[in-house]
Symmetry: C2
Subunit: 190 residues, 2 copies
């Protein structure tokens, strides 16, 4: 997706060989027009997949997921990272390790929001080691629903996430694939 790649080149900050900071348009400040285009692109890629629901993880996945849901006309669930007082029982819960934050957290989805017949599109802002996407997929499968596809905004293709996801048989579509962040510069994979 050229618009996204240009934005990464213009505004992305390479903090290390592993970390790309895109706080100005995705992870802290959001560019709503770019999110709209991202949503349209995911909706087009998965238009034939019979999607009935989208699942993402708070917080950075929400904007692209909601825009995709708008175009596919399906509800969007954001998995919660912590339990709150009004979200306590009847949850599907999975552990997810964040390499960025160097900590394990739990993500959970209310059982009543997923059904056996659902065909679920998983959306996330970043794909690195695939931990977050695999946790979402396990939640969907706990519910007896089907992972019908995985849409990633930015994939760090030099890590092994997409390989792991494809080993599970999932279709993965990434809008920008980064081959390397070495020497402080972004090299795309294609």
């Amino acid at each position: 997706m050229e618009l996204l790649k240009n934005k990464i080149i213009e505004e992305g900050l390479v903090l290390s060989d592993q970390v790309l900071k895109v706080d100005s348009f995705l992870n802290h400040q959001v560019d709503p027009r770019l999110m709209r285009e991202i949503g349209r692109t995911f909706a087009s890629l998965f238009s034939e997949s019979g999607i009935t629901k989208i699942v993402t993880i708070e917080s950075s996945g929400i904007a692209p997921a909601v825009m995709t849901g708008l175009d596919l006309d399906v509800p969007v669930i954001f998995a919660r990272k912590r339990k709150s007082l009004t979200l306590q029982d009847d949850l599907y819960t999975e552990k997810v390790y964040s390499f960025t934050k160097k900590e394990e957290s739990e993500v959970s989805v209310s059982r009543k929001l997923l059904s056996q017949g659902d065909r679920v599109l998983l959306i996330d802002d970043f794909l690195a080691n695939g931990e977050a996407a695999l946790a979402m997929a396990r939640i969907v499968e706990q519910a007896g629903a089907t992972v019908a596809g995985i849409g990633i905004v930015i994939e760090k293709a030099f890590q092994n996430g997409s390989g792991k996801l494809r080993e599970h048989g999932y279709r993965v579509e990434s809008l920008a694939r980064i081959a390397s962040l070495e020497s402080g510069s972004v090299v795309f994979a294609d």
Copy 2:
């Protein structure tokens, strides 16, 4: 906003005199079409306010805020509730007490995202005691920017939030105002 009020009546769960659970369309699962209408309504209410930026707090504020940003064509910042490895320095930080979670947390916004000339629209999913909105307002004012308005999806009008915000001189627009949750039923204020 009639569409929102109908959704609250149909799908809202009154958990106590104080707590309304709207997990099926706002706080855990999101209805993208409803969010689009909410965004259009806020954009229309504040179309003459010269808004240059929207600020919300992760996570439930993001969907309505991004839809509003789409229509006003301005960037949307979501204040982060915790510091992460890629979000560590040069932050405006304020404390906010959550009566739902019964705990104090910190919200922060990167200094580089707010400028003196900014006219900021604050968006949040719920207004109860006004703690979250006041924390966002203090962050905006730390940056020397102006709070040009506050847009609330659901106001618990039986609590004192909007009064506190108006005492500070802020214009507050709530799309649904709840007068009471007593006896397990929702009574709107207007």
